[in-house]
C-alpha cells in the first residue's frame, strides 16, 4: 500500500503528460471541426472512465452484499464518488464541445450527454441517501442496492434516450470498429489509459484518507 500509491501517482502523471502532449502536438487536426475537436480526447476517455467507476462501484457493492465486508462498502462509495466527479467533468467537457461545434451549450440530441445527466442525477441522490442514513450495516446495504440499480439503469436509460433522440451526434465507434486514423486512435488510447490511471490514483488516495479517518474514529472511541 505504501509503495503502490506513489508508483501509481508517478505512472499517472507520466501518462497524463504523454496524453496532453499527444493531444496537442501529435493528433491530426480534424478536417471538419478544426482544433476544437481535440477535446474529444478528453471528453470520451473521461466519460468511459466514469462508466468504469460506476461499474467498479457496483462490483464492490455486489461484493459487499455477498461477503458483508465493510471495506467493500467503503470502496463502493469511493468509486461512485469518483464516478460522479468524472461524470460532472463529462458534462462540462461535453457542453464545451457542443458550444464549440454547434454553438449551443446543451443539445438534447446528444445521447451520451443526456445519459450522463440522468446518471449524474441518479448518483447525486446516492449521496443524499447515504448521508441521510446512520452509518452501519443498514446504510451499507441500501447503498449497495442503489449502486446495483445504477448499473442496471445505465443500459436501460441509454436505450430510452436512443429511442427519444434526434440524429445529430457524430458516431465515432460503430459496429465496424473505430472510424479513426491510426494516430488518432493511438492518442485516444493513451488518453484513456491516463484517465483510468487518474481514477485509480484518486481512488487510492481517497480510500487511504477514508480508512485513516475510520481508524482514528475507532481509536477515539476506544479512548472515550
Amino acid at each position: 500500500m505504501h509503495l503502490r500509491l506513489p508508483t501509481l501517482a508517478f505512472v499517472c502523471t507520466g501518462l497524463l503528460g504523454a496524453a496532453i502532449a499527444l493531444i496537442f502536438f501529435y493528433a491530426p487536426t480534424d478536417a471538419n471541426q478544426g482544433f476544437s475537436q481535440r477535446i474529444f480526447y478528453f471528453h470520451v476517455p473521461i466519460a468511459l472512465t466514469s462508466y468504469a467507476c460506476f461499474g467498479w462501484g457496483a462490483w464492490k457493492a455486489l461484493r459487499y452484499l455477498r461477503t458483508r465486508d465493510e471495506r467493500a462498502d467503503l470502496e463502493s462509495y469511493v468509486a461512485i464518488h469518483q464516478g460522479v466527479i468524472f461524470g460532472g467533468l463529462t458534462l462540462v467537457t461535453g457542453s464545451i464541445w457542443a458550444k464549440a461545434s454547434w454553438g449551443v451549450w446543451w443539445s438534447w440530441g446528444e445521447d451520451q450527454l443526456v445519459l450522463f445527466l440522468v446518471l449524474f442525477l441518479f448518483y447525486c441522490a446516492y449521496f443524499m441517501l447515504r448521508f441521510s442514513v446512520d452509518a452501519g450495516p443498514a446504510r451499507a446495504n441500501m447503498s449497495a442496492v442503489y449502486a446495483l440499480f445504477g448499473v442496471a439503469l445505465i443500459p436501460v436509460s441509454f436505450l430510452a434516450i436512443r429511442l427519444s433522440r434526434s440524429f445529430i451526434h457524430p458516431i465515432v465507434f460503430n459496429s465496424h470498429g473505430p472510424q479513426m486514423a491510426g494516430s488518432q486512435f493511438f492518442t485516444f488510447c493513451v488518453s484513456l489509459a491516463a484517465m483510468l490511471a487518474l481514477f485509480a490514483t484518486l481512488y487510492q488516495v481517497e480510500l487511504a484518507g477514508k480508512r485513516v479517518d475510520a481508524h482514528v474514529r475507532e481509536l477515539r472511541e476506544l479512548l472515550a
Partner: protein, 205 residues
Amino acid sequence: MTYAADVAALARKDLLLELRAKETLPSMLLFVIAALTIFHFALPSGTSHAAALGLLWAAIIFTALLGLTRAFVAEREQGMLDALVLAPCDRSAIWLGKALAVLAFLVAAEVVALPAFAAFFSGLDGRTVAAVALADIGIASVGTLFGAMAVAGRARELLLPLLFLPMAIPIVVGGVGGYLWFLALYDAIFVVLSWAAFEYVVSET
C-alpha cells in the same frame, strides 16, 4: 403459510388500512385532477395531442410519487417494519404485498385520471392505456423499494423524489413514445431486481 398467502395478507392489510383511514387515495385523486387542471392553463390553447400526452405522463409520475411517499408511513410511525421483518415470512413477500397495494392505488387513481384526461384534452387511444398499465408495474415495484429506503433516512419525504425521478425517466420515454416493448422490458428488469434486493434494504445486518 405459503408465499402467496403471505403476500395476499400483506396486500390486504394495506388495502384495508386505506379503506378505513382513506388517506392516500383521495389525495392522489385530487392531486391528479388538480395537476391536469394546471396543465390545461400551462399549455397554450390549440396545442398538439403530443404535448398534452407528455403532461399526462408528468402527472402520472408525480401522482405516483405522492402515493409512494405515503406507502411506508404506517410502517414507520408504528415501528411496524421491524415487526414485519421479524415475522416468519420471506422478506420479499413484504415488498410484493406493498407493491401490489401501491399498484392498486395507482390503478384506482388512473381509472379516474385517464377519462378526465380524455375529457379535458384531446382524447385517448388504446396504446396509451396499455402503456400506462405497463408503466404502473414498473413504478410500483421500483417505487416501493426506494420508498423503503427513503423511510430509513432522516430526509424521508424529501429523499424519495430524488431517488425515484431519475429511475422514472425511462418510463416517461417509453410512455410518451408508446414503446410498449420497452416498458415491458423495464418492468421485467426492475421487478426482478427489486424483488431480489428488498431483503437487503430492510435487514439491519
